[in-house]
Amino acid sequence: MDIQLASYIPLLLAAVMVVMVLAFALLEQNLKARVIARLYKNAPFYQAHRLLQQYHHAVNNRASADEIELITQEVNQYFNSPHQLPSGRQGQTTLTQEQYQQFAHAHRILQKQINFINTDMSAKQRIMVNTQIKIDCLNYAETYCPTEENLKEKSSADHSSMVSSIAKMP
């Protein structure tokens, strides 16, 4: 019986596909990382994305406290770098790890919503939802990042000034 090697290719492909589907989460993560590294290298979010990946990688692999500290420092440097903040506020912000995670989470949610608004909504809906998002931002900031003034006195005047400043956001 003469069986060519080529007739085993379908079996091989089936095995490859089974492995790919079984390890799909890993595959997807890996592929996306590669795609971002290749295609979106010059995109504005690339550096932040890289730092985020590094942080998650360190946390998932249970890296030592020193390493996480190092990454957190890098993150802080990135957030405090000149193109991120207006000149008056440089060096003021320092985030704890928890805060950073919360910010990353919030940023993910916000980005999703903004993409959705830009692509899928009518002009009328956009106005409504933009306002809602600003209010969400405000609530988020009040819940997770209480400033010293807020801790001392939760006055309504402060609140309204924050509302007005956030409402000016584009």
């Binding site: 007739s7 079996l11 492909l13 089936a14 596909m17 795609v35 295609l39 959705f116 692509t119 939802v129």
Partner: protein, 166 residues
């Protein structure tokens, strides 16, 4: 076996192409791009398979047995790879529906590989070789895949409040 069941199974391709047009247009209307792209890829695969099978029907039996399973398996595998690549390239998250479909497609591909092994490598040929495993496994799974696509395309993209927006 009743006439209707036989008809549904045997002429599955045409029926599937017609049914699959519904998720294509529905997801286009709902702007559900992952489902839209996948439904488009799938409808092309099924249509190609239909064209190929009618093209192969003129061939002699042996050649037909040798080519049939392989090419259809390559078609499904290509669809899977194209879909995965598209999702990665555009940074879409793969939804549960599409993951489910990937699993079902894998089962299909495994059955094609099994039939290829059975008939070309081991040489176990039966008289009516299209009317057994192929019709009972692959066609119903294709119907299930299209059903999942239908449900997923009805759902649409979810807005802030968790309801779908179209």
């Amino acid at each position: 076996m009743s006439e209707i069941l036989q008809y549904i199974l045997y002429y599955g391709d045409k029926a599937m192409i017609v049914i699959c047009l519904v998720p294509v247009f529905m997801s286009l209307k709902n702007k559900n791009w992952p489902i839209f792209s996948f439904a488009l890829l799938y409808i092309t695969a099924v249509a190609l398979r239909h064209i190929l099978s009618s093209y192969y029907s003129d061939f002699p039996q042996e050649e037909k047995v040798y080519i049939w399973y392989q090419t259809f398996e390559y078609l499904f595998f290509g669809t899977f790879i194209a879909s995965v690549a598209l999702h990665a390239l555009l940074l879409w998250t793969t939804t549960k529906a599409i993951k489910c479909i990937y699993v079902l497609m894998t089962i299909n591909v495994c059955f094609y590989a099994f039939m290829h092994w059975q008939r070309n490598i081991m040489g176990w040929n039966e008289y009516d070789w299209t009317w057994d495993l192929y019709t009972w496994i692959v066609v119903p799974i294709n119907y299930i895949i299209i059903g999942i696509l239908l449900v997923a395309s009805i759902k649409g993209v979810q807005g802030r409040d968790g309801h779908s927006i179209s």
